[in-house]
């Protein structure tokens, strides 16, 4: 990418110059700058509604003084604007600091001077636009042609490459060359006055090889079949039920019902129900929950690319790493950024993430999962007298303060006397964070191992995340219904 040159002025002399400007006026600062290029293709009913390309720059500078942060965001990347924004962020930090009642320091961490690169087998720059269009067209054709019941199809292809530089006052200088791709497919079907839809996506860090994986190649066929299947699904009956959650839903459950409340910024602001729960038993003995956004997870799952929620280092220069959240039912760790780890006097664990260089890092999850145990899926269904088998999810959310969460399942099968029965749609599940982890009555085995890729929103920012792993069974969950 030739635009890489745009970041070349971040040389040692310029950094030394900034260090001198900062002098002893600030306690911590960091600069993030990104130059990116990308493509979006959006097709509806086999016609292009958007074929676009972009070239963008983003830069954000943070300064910190004794508990107060200042942040300055701008788009014109040159030495002058960086320097003037640097001074602005220092002024903002000073002003913030003057009104602050909670004083704290940022603990100095080891500097990291390193370059990272996403290796793509088929780099995006080597693939021409016609090839990308052919791909989208072929998925649109498969989806539209799969049944007469299909009324409407949509396929979105997005890719992007970026060069990202991170510099901070600890002496870190991190350069990254990143590349991502995401393919989304949506199909609407209609029968007897009822419309149903299904959405699937495949995303990862890497190049055009991502679209040649089995999961990606079958995406449109799968989505179309799902939307048709839903036409015959029944509306759910509300009440209390035992549910078996498939890996995608189980991952979301852990993400929503536990993950968010483990974000240390919410703990410090008294917004998390898990405040003062470290070292306490909050789940059954059998439960181990991990967040591991480090690279290499894709390979473990047999994929030729990195997972969508993975990263080399977080947006504060801390390497991604495996963090144990729950071990044998006991809450072990919160997820931290630089600030929360400094204030709680703990090592950081690489969860300071931002949606772009123009947004501030927040505490965020990466790849959150439950460790598999020994239940075989079929065994699990046979062992359930009355319940609901829930597969995949549409969305979920949680209120970390009250602990109440909800999510919506894509497919739900009634289970009667250990047998899978009719399909239901739009099943909504609700529960309480501190109760649900104690209601887990079985955890699936390694074979059922799977994951989802998506984006998660917090404070107006969206970041890439993955959740996953085995089937789990939860007793006594509230199910919403229209009947």
């Amino acid at each position: 990418m030739k635009t890489y040159d745009e970041l070349s002025f971040f040389d040692n002399a310029f950094i030394a110059d900034l260090l001198q400007e900062a002098g002893n006026k600030v306690e911590y600062w960091d600069i993030r700058a990104t130059v990116s290029e990308g493509t979006t293709l959006d097709f509806t009913d086999q016609r292009s509604t958007e074929i676009s390309s972009y070239e963008m720059t983003n830069c954000g500078i943070r300064a910190f003084i004794n508990g107060g942060w200042g942040f300055s965001v701008f788009k014109d990347l040159n030495k002058d604007s960086i320097k003037s924004s640097f001074l602005k962020s220092i002024k903002l930090a000073k002003l913030t600091r003057s009104l602050l009642k909670n004083e704290f320091k940022i603990t100095e961490r080891d500097p990291l001077e390193k370059s990272f690169k996403i290796n793509s087998k088929l780099p995006l720059s080597d693939v021409n636009i016609e090839e990308k269009i052919e791909l989208v067209k072929s998925h649109e054709k498969i989806a539209a042609g799969s049944s007469k019941l299909v009324t409407n199809t949509r396929t979105i292809y997005m890719d992007g490459v970026s060069n990202y530089i991170f510099i901070n006052s600890f002496g870190s200088k991190i350069k990254q060359k990143l590349s991502y791709l995401r393919l989304l497919n949506m199909v609407y079907s209609r029968k007897a006055g009822i419309t149903q839809r299904s959405i699937n996506s495949v995303g990862g860090l890497g190049g055009f090889e991502i679209v040649s994986t089995e999961k990606a190649e079958k995406i449109s066929e799968k989505t179309a079949q799902e939307s048709i299947k839903l036409l015959d699904a029944k509306s759910p009956i509300g009440g209390q039920f035992t549910i078996i959650a498939d890996p995608k839903l189980a991952g979301t459950l852990i993400h929503e019902a536990l993950g968010h409340a483990c974000e240390a910024d919410l703990v410090l602001s008294k917004e998390s129900i898990l405040k003062e729960k470290i070292g306490k038993k909050i789940a059954l003995q059998d439960i181990n929950v991990i967040d591991d956004p480090s690279m290499g997870q894709g390979k473990k799952l047999g994929l030729p690319y990195e997972l969508f929620g993975s990263y080399f280092v977080d947006d504060e220069g801390i390497p991604s790493q495996k963090t144990t959240i729950i071990e044998n039912g006991i809450l072990k760790n919160y997820l931290h950024n630089l600030e929360t780890s400094s204030r709680m006097n703990l090592p950081p664990n690489g969860h300071g993430r931002a949606s772009s260089s123009s947004a501030k890092p927040q505490v965020r999850m990466g790849f959150t999962y439950i460790e598999p145990k020994d239940w075989n899926v079929e065994e699990l269904i046979r062992d359930t007298k009355n319940g609901i088998l829930c597969e995949d999810f549409l969305y979920g959310y949680t209120n970390p303060t009250t602990g109440n969460f909800q999510f919506k399942c894509k497919f739900s099968y009634k289970i009667e006397n250990g047998e899978r029965k009719e399909l239901m749609r739009d099943v909504a599940l609700s529960g309480m964070i501190l109760e649900v982890l104690k209601k887990v009555s079985a955890i699936g085995d390694q074979k059922s191992f799977s994951y989802s890729d998506g984006v998660c929103g917090k404070g107006g920012q969206s970041v890439r995340v993955c959740d996953g792993r085995p089937y789990i069974r939860v007793d006594d969950i509230t199910v919403g219904g229209l009947n």
Partner: protein, 458 residues
Amino acid sequence: MYEDIDIFELAKFAIKIAEKNYSNYKCAEVFIGKSEYLNIEVEENSVKYSEIGRNHGISIRVYRKNGSIGFAFTNILKKKVVEKIVKNAIKMMRVGTPDPDFKNLPEKLKPYPVVEGLYDRSIKNLSIEDAIEYVKDLIKTCTEDDQAISQSGDFTANSNLSYVFNSNGVEVSGEETYFNISSNMIVKDVINGEVSNGYESQMRRKLVDIDGTKTAEEALKNAKRNLHRKKIKTKKMQVILSPKGTINLILNPIASAINAETYQYKRSFLVGKRGKKIGSDLINIDDNALINGRVGSNIFDGEGFPCRNKNIIEHGQFLQSGLLHNSYTAGKENIESTGNASRRSFSSIPSIGISNLVFQPGITLKDELIQNVKEGILLNSTADSPNIATGDFSGLISQGNLIQNGEIKHALNETMFGINLLDLFENITSISKEYKIYGPYSAPYVKIDKVQIIGAQS
């Protein structure tokens, strides 16, 4: 810093490049956006973070005679990069599929309406120090209350400039301001230690209309009302939607369902209902872009088309003309755009969005609505949304209280409810005189009969 870039000249330059590279195009449009903002954040009831930022960018949309579209954008406002972007857009257009439904981009036909109060000059002199004063009101409200233990919140000031220039002769620019204040108050019951939160926000065009104290007090009231949460039993009950509940369950879904794109692709539960009755006579909803000073008001839309007022639902009847259009969806029906082309920024192709969606208030006082309920629920908010294609809703009440014998009682825990929106519209029995404005929505209290409530109490 931007003064040295003449955006008007840059836009004309872009069109010229397009002509030079592909003179046979059907039409082309350049959109330029510039914005500046300032943001102060409160965490742990203390000012912790302040941010200033600026953004700018240019996009070009170009159509071939057969309707195929090309689009490209950049935030690097240099002629060299803009030239490259225009060439990219043409390249994209050439490989796109033909679209016989595309008619044309807007033409300059009509004068623009006059709408006052979209831009507040005081933003020019607004310093971080001034902005912090608004946030201090938030902090004070929390500090002075015994039950409030923490608060997060923010204040944001935004100014945007948009400029639309197309090859059909449309050329229009305008400036607007937004100010926003929000509070998420955390309260703790002194006796049993129960913690809960309450949220409130305000978005206005004018700085003087921002009231931090009122916002924080309302958040505090919501938080306290959300204490003493109990599970209830499954039952059919009356539900009163607060203005926020009305937005969640009625206005927001309607905004999606009347979007002509959603409708034309048959993804709306209102498909086939144009010109028909879809609910109670009490429902009257307009989408009005011309209310002075309101957040959703505008003179022109994202394609430079003049904005106006549109009646959507009259006495429960979904009007034949009740869809919101941009130039593409309007062209498909051979009508004129309704001026609802919306762009989140220069980087997006215009989609369709509401102006100010106004649910006309009724004649009953809000207190009377509540007093007449024997057993029911006051629903303040649900973070969930219905399935727009089917109108089915099934979700969690994130903030709600039980009403017994006309009095608001304890808050609800793990309580869900389910209803189809068309049943909900049918079962509306009264609408309050009082209403609240949140962003582009104007919403009263709405009473609904026979809602299926699913409680977790066995």
